[in-house]
Homo-oligomer: 469 residues x 2
Amino acid sequence: MSLAVDNNGAQPLPESLIATLTELLGERFTMSNSVREHHGKGEAYHTAALPDGVAYGNSTDEVSAIVKACAAHGTPVIPYGTGTALEGHTLALRGGISLDVSGMDQVIRVSPEDMDCTVQAGVTRNQLNEYLRDTGLFFPVDPGADASLGGMSATRASGTTTVRYGAMRENVLALTVVLADGRVIQTARRARKSSAGYDLTRLFVGSEGTLGVITEVTLRLFGIPEATQAAVCSFPDLESAVNTVITVVQCGIPIARCELLDKTGMKMICDYGKLDDYTIGDTLFMEFHGSEAGVTEQAAQVQAIAADYGAGDFKWASKPEDRTKLWEARHNGHYAILATAKPGQNVMATDVCVPVSRLAECILATKEDLEQSGLVSPFVGHAGDGNFHMSIIANYDDEAENKLAHDIHDRLVHRAQDMEGTCTGEHGIGSGKIDYLEEELGGAVDVMRAVKRALDPDNIMNPGKILRL
Amino acid sequence: MSLAVDNNGAQPLPESLIATLTELLGERFTMSNSVREHHGKGEAYHTAALPDGVAYGNSTDEVSAIVKACAAHGTPVIPYGTGTALEGHTLALRGGISLDVSGMDQVIRVSPEDMDCTVQAGVTRNQLNEYLRDTGLFFPVDPGADASLGGMSATRASGTTTVRYGAMRENVLALTVVLADGRVIQTARRARKSSAGYDLTRLFVGSEGTLGVITEVTLRLFGIPEATQAAVCSFPDLESAVNTVITVVQCGIPIARCELLDKTGMKMICDYGKLDDYTIGDTLFMEFHGSEAGVTEQAAQVQAIAADYGAGDFKWASKPEDRTKLWEARHNGHYAILATAKPGQNVMATDVCVPVSRLAECILATKEDLEQSGLVSPFVGHAGDGNFHMSIIANYDDEAENKLAHDIHDRLVHRAQDMEGTCTGEHGIGSGKIDYLEEELGGAVDVMRAVKRALDPDNIMNPGKILRL
């Protein structure tokens, strides 16, 4: 892994800012190396970039005071939740303060009748679902990692259940945001829908910390389904699996999850999770939510459609412990892949999303490209959304291999864009996809720049992410 | 009705702009009184405000050329679709050009496999559904009026099916927008989800023509359900009806529509639609979409829940012609109400939305307020969303009666806001709710203002709507 960049040529922290933050936060402001290193590291292929200090804000008021202090000195502020972002969002590319909101871990309010809740930004999705356990409600968005709900909002996360329940875009009702000058706003009321002015909620959802710090999130909740059933089924090829998904969605069958794994990926997770009773092939992992009768009907319909596309047997998991085992295997995909890596190797996650009719074509062309390179990667897709990930295994410290992997990624992104798709379905732009965003949306990026300049004229909020100003 | 305001003290149109638009559009640019009057009128309680001219743009390029010409002279541009907006969005409060896109009536593309389509902004929802008839797909958002899809995007419309299919917010995938200086942008690719930068799609959805002119809309589509069943059921009181809806939604029953009508409203539509076999009481109009078995199950579940809350018999309508009759009656609510008005009387539509747990309370308190005034209004609610409308019947030319009605509205909005609700669930801010927006979102409106100034520095796009600059 490349050496970390410390401070990156930025101004050192002003003494008066250090004094202000120390007075405000006591030990919750630190410049210790280990804490800075923890907050400034990214994924394998992102060079770490350390903040000059880390400030732990435990309330909206504290976050506001921290931002105000930084703004007074033009010091960058990098919001930090659980550090699970995949596009280097938390790297301090221009030094500054990593603003860690993980201490904001309170569920503020749950309204079962309205099926919504408000949480502090540091609450993770698993913490929330644990809290909700006795209410009969759950929060469905599931990006895999146990990310903070503030961070999931900031990256417009989605994941395995989007095909049924929507992404963060659809499930955030309102946000409390600390702006770049420390002002605090509430983007919307708690009403389930509203036409009251510009949709600031969705402007901040996906803004990756570049417009402000999200401190509270109001979320839609859903009733825990009466019945849940999961199934795994292998197909003769990727195209048959994708066509099954297209037909299922067209028929209006409200499938809750339908995850695509190619043969390589299936082998990795079966080896890692010691699942020895599954066929190693191009596979769909599915889940059905509904009433007992509804789930039975959905499952039968899907099975019939899959059979038309030559699917093998369905392996059912209706008992909670079997389902948990299954989805743990799927969620542990990242570790399963890492487990196959040799010393010095690491993985690069890709994240294109295309219209679902082009999904099989996009994957197959990319597979061919990959095979020619000699590198290895599984393919994992949120098939109902047309979104898929590679995890390209390579030695990223080896220049040639690094280039090989990045060239594959480059061609993948352009392939997806040529298919009217996007360079990122759910991970965000971060610092690595700024040029791709320009290629993808052209003049629209000028509008984003205008918005950024209007809300953060001094460019202190997570500078170097999403946009080149 | 109050007299129309013509030009409103604004500068007359510059001769050179008239020449440019005439050269560009020929007879599709007009300054005729009748056309200006048609484009500058609002609802009963909005005083008409005439544009100085009307320009019919038939393509994105033409719209861009029109906006550029207006921008060169600082002349206001007021986008116009079908003129069905309810908050005076099309009034030319500062004169200028009404930019009519009704001629942009082409369905550009339908992709059945991806379940999406792209239409020009002037295509209405009924036109689109007519076009889709043979594809097995439909576009669900149904605000009642046969509005243009550009206009529905611009006001963030929703309506009767939102509880199941979402509002325009959820169903617009991408927009083509002409900015205030005539530049053309595409807000997103056609991927079903994306984390590529700020969510400009949703910034323009609900921007009411104040940030640019929407010229093309990419929309999600849905499969026409295998089975549909509608039912009408009366309840002992409003609270029982609302509690039924809350329970239905909590149980995860995917009800497609659940419309609340109070006794007054039910009598009006039954009289108008000659529906003589319904109980005149507080009523739910419901619709179920799904498989044959699914619809039967949903209906049985809802019937059981309703019975717990003391509901009367269900009247079923599973034949298409019966359903059409039913929903026509509901959709003709506005005309049914007008039919009860005496000469000189008109109606004012209200549009608050509250957390659904407060819906019954909000309606009941407002009913009491209304009764004390002596005025009459039905209550019609999109109950699953917590959104309801009054149509206050009054003589708005009578100063005392006008004040009486507006005072009721004022107290209604504050009541809803006190319940964490909003002054507008789906009609928008227009010019009449600018102060309510300030009260509702406070400092967030400053952020909206900053965005507006950044994207339309000369304030030519539909000035006087949403924000006071």
